[in-house]
Symmetry: C2
Subunit: 177 residues, 2 copies
DNA sequence: CAATATGATAGCGAATCGAAACTATTGCAC
DNA sequence: GTGCAATAGTTTCGATTCGCTATCATATTG
């Protein structure tokens, strides 16, 4: 029993226990995961296709999941400027109310940064074996250009980002070199 | 964005990506999880009720999952001596063949022990908020009495354990004081 | 004997997957 | 520009699974 194997076993059960605890108020784990994702993603990453990639499922299933969330009044659809095919989703007040009371705090006392770094490594290794995007935060993205104190600039999309947006998930995230 | 929050987000997506990758050979995530569990659990922890507790679901659902695994010929049921209500399950050769080729290796280079300890802490905090058992290994169990070189003794069940059994999951696991 | 525990089963609602068909829009080659 | 392939999104279908509740039979415990 190597630490690698034990780690895998622990993560597995943690995921199942977590999913069971999140399954509440008539919502499935996929719906909660999508809602939670939408609450953390930036305005360029909240479309059905991107949700499908995040959830590692098909566009069809993601479309259904988003539909059920919209019917519950937890998210709302809107058409962004530009590409007329795209749909984007925002959380409603009701949706935000659910997200904030999700069990979110983990007991990480010592060296939380090291643990997070390891989790990033694990996820990246899983993701790279397929062809799934990484979904990271602007502040550690290769395209990110900091502007001390006042927002940031994305070199990929060529536009300014607010301070809050630096801590949101992005579909276009690229690992630092 | 605290490390605790980011850790939660990473674990969430890791679970979904992992489940999607495991969903192969016509098996669902729950079935693979049950099969994997059975391959690691000791002979006292392979009953439907215990599987239900491990998977954080009900006995009814666990019974269905085990039934489908048995129909696929991956596990086989047998009645242990003692309590005549109990059923135990063992992996068949076909079942074992699937388990060994599951993606199991994680890229943990530095200080894996510290990571595993942190993961244990996270899982324990999740589990204790409900009433789920911890499911640990004999070698770190409070009931475990080492006998250098030749197996071990369980002070709870009052019987000898082989060397291999020390590295198997147990339902009765109790955290060290 | 009564209460409890284990397990199986049935019924229900919902979600999921995969695949496919379909619309609308966009981008590219020419 | 025109034509056509590719993309984004939705919807449908059938089969399967899941989770929950409840009920039942059996066996154990007190």
């Amino acid at each position: 029993m190597t630490p690698q194997i034990e780690m895998m076993f622990l993560l597995d059960r943690l995921a199942r226990v977590h999913a069971a605890q999140r399954r509440m108020e008539g919502m499935t784990d996929a719906q909660i995961a999508a809602l939670d994702y939408l609450s953390r993603a930036n305005r360029f990453s909240r479309s059905p296709s991107v949700v499908a990639e995040y959830l590692a499922t098909t566009r069809g299933t993601a479309s259904q999941t988003l539909k059920s969330l919209a019917e519950k009044g937890l998210i709302i659809e809107h058409a962004p400027a530009g590409d007329k095919r795209q749909r984007m989703y925002d959380l409603t007040e009701a949706g935000r109310a659910i997200v904030v009371r999700l069990p979110g705090q983990l007991p990480l006392e010592q060296e939380p940064e090291a643990l997070v770094a390891a989790a990033r490594l694990i996820l990246r290794s899983r993701v790279s074996s397929g062809s799934l995007p990484t979904f990271g935060f602007c502040r550690t993205c290769r395209y990110h250009l900091g502007r001390d104190g006042q927002g940031a600039y994305c070199q990929l999309l060529k536009l300014d980002l607010s301070v809050e947006e630096r801590d949101q998930l992005c579909h276009e995230y690229l690992e630092p070199a």
